[in-house]
């Protein structure tokens, strides 16, 4: 059976670390990094990349529109 595989790319310099994507993700893919970007924000990143299903929930709730979502069948 074909499996859905997703991934996201976060523009980490524009991320403000609000964390809304973290709670929007049904797969707990996203976490806020311990490091900060040049503005001092703990940016979002994929802590469990393999679990991403490309549902785009994270990107839809992102106030700064900085998440791009990819999805394919493998």
């Amino acid at each position: 059976m074909a499996k859905i595989k997703g991934s996201i790319v976060v523009d980490k310099e524009k991320c403000k670390g609000c964390g809304l994507c973290v709670v929007a993700c049904p797969q707990d893919v996203i976490a806020l990094a311990k490091e900060v970007n040049s503005k001092g924000y703990n940016f979002a990143y994929m802590v469990k990349p393999d679990a991403c299903i490309g549902c785009a929930n994270c990107a839809e709730v992102c106030p700064d529109s900085i998440i791009t979502v990819y999805r394919t069948k493998i």
């Binding site: 997703g6 991934s7 524009k14 964390g19 809304l20 990349p49 106030p63 791009t68 979502v69």
Partner: protein, 267 residues
């Protein structure tokens, strides 16, 4: 991990930033609802293919700089006067899609008269009303929409009815006016409500083609800085408190009243 990198190709993109949004970094605080609503308006404009035919009227408030973020024609109104400016614009250019974007201080306080009369006249405009129950821009003062008991910079012991009066439900008020056709209260705190809100915004723009009256969308919102609650908890606070008073959903989905029904009184 190898798989993850593999699928990052243009043909696999299922969601990306709308082309109607500029590349400017938004000045809003982390997690602010304004950014989500900007995005939805941009997506609707892009999907309807009306970027060259839409005119926004921005308010005074945190979203005063909306024109930096949506790549469309804009006008900047004096505080609360966006519906008056939108009225003139729509009447002069009836083929353009005209919308106001207003906060609760702007729309429910200093601009209460303008919005009521624009809605009562049934102007064929769309109103996007960001209700975060506070004056965000000026430092979190009490707004007409602040909940009873809610602490703000100017109600440090919580809003007190004897002192400050009752919170105002603008959306319920405009739903009763004969000029409105579509009045709804939405939110953007989850992916599901974001999608619903986008549909509402699209409908409100499409109503302008039908010339059936004013479409009014309240988006019950958060102001993390003004509320002094971090973004994720602010959304929860909104659900637990704001939603009880500002009930979510459609209040009106019709057409503005039939003028003939009003003529009969002097016949």
């Amino acid at each position: 991990m190898a798989e993850t990198i593999d699928i990052i190709k243009d043909e696999n993109i299922v969601y990306q930033k709308s082309k109607v949004l500029t590349d400017n970094v938004m000045h809003y605080c982390p997690g602010c609802s304004h950014g989500v609503v900007h995005k939805l308006i941009a997506e609707v404009i892009e999907e309807m293919g009306i970027q060259e035919n839409v005119i926004g009227v921005s308010p005074v408030g945190c979203s005063v700089f909306a024109y930096n973020y949506l790549d469309i024609d804009w006008q900047e109104a004096a505080h609360g006067r966006a519906p008056a400016l939108a009225t003139a614009t729509k009447r002069l250019m009836p083929d353009k899609y005209v919308f106001t974007y207003q906060g609760d201080g702007d729309l429910a306080s200093i601009g209460a008269a303008e919005i009521l009369h624009a809605c009562n006249r049934g102007e064929n405009i769309t109103v996007i009303f960001i209700n975060n129950a506070i004056y965000g821009m000026t430092g979190g003062q009490m707004a007409p929409t602040t909940l009873v008991g809610m602490k703000t910079a100017t109600s440090p012991y919580g809003r007190d009815i004897d002192l400050h009066g009752y919170p105002l439900k603008m959306t319920e008020i405009v739903a009763q006016l004969p000029g409105t056709c579509y009045v709804t209260r939405q939110s953007v705190h989850t992916a599901a409500t974001v999608r619903k809100c986008k549909k509402a915004i699209r409908k409100a723009f499409e109503n302008q083609e039908k010339k059936i009256g004013t479409s009014f969308i309240e988006v019950t919102s958060t102001c993390n800085s003004g509320w002094k609650i971090p973004p994720v908890e602010a959304n929860k606070w909104m659900v637990d408190h704001m939603f009880k008073f500002f009930e979510q959903g459609d209040l009106k989905d019709a057409e503005r009243d039939n003028p003939d029904d009003y003529k009969k009184y002097i016949e």
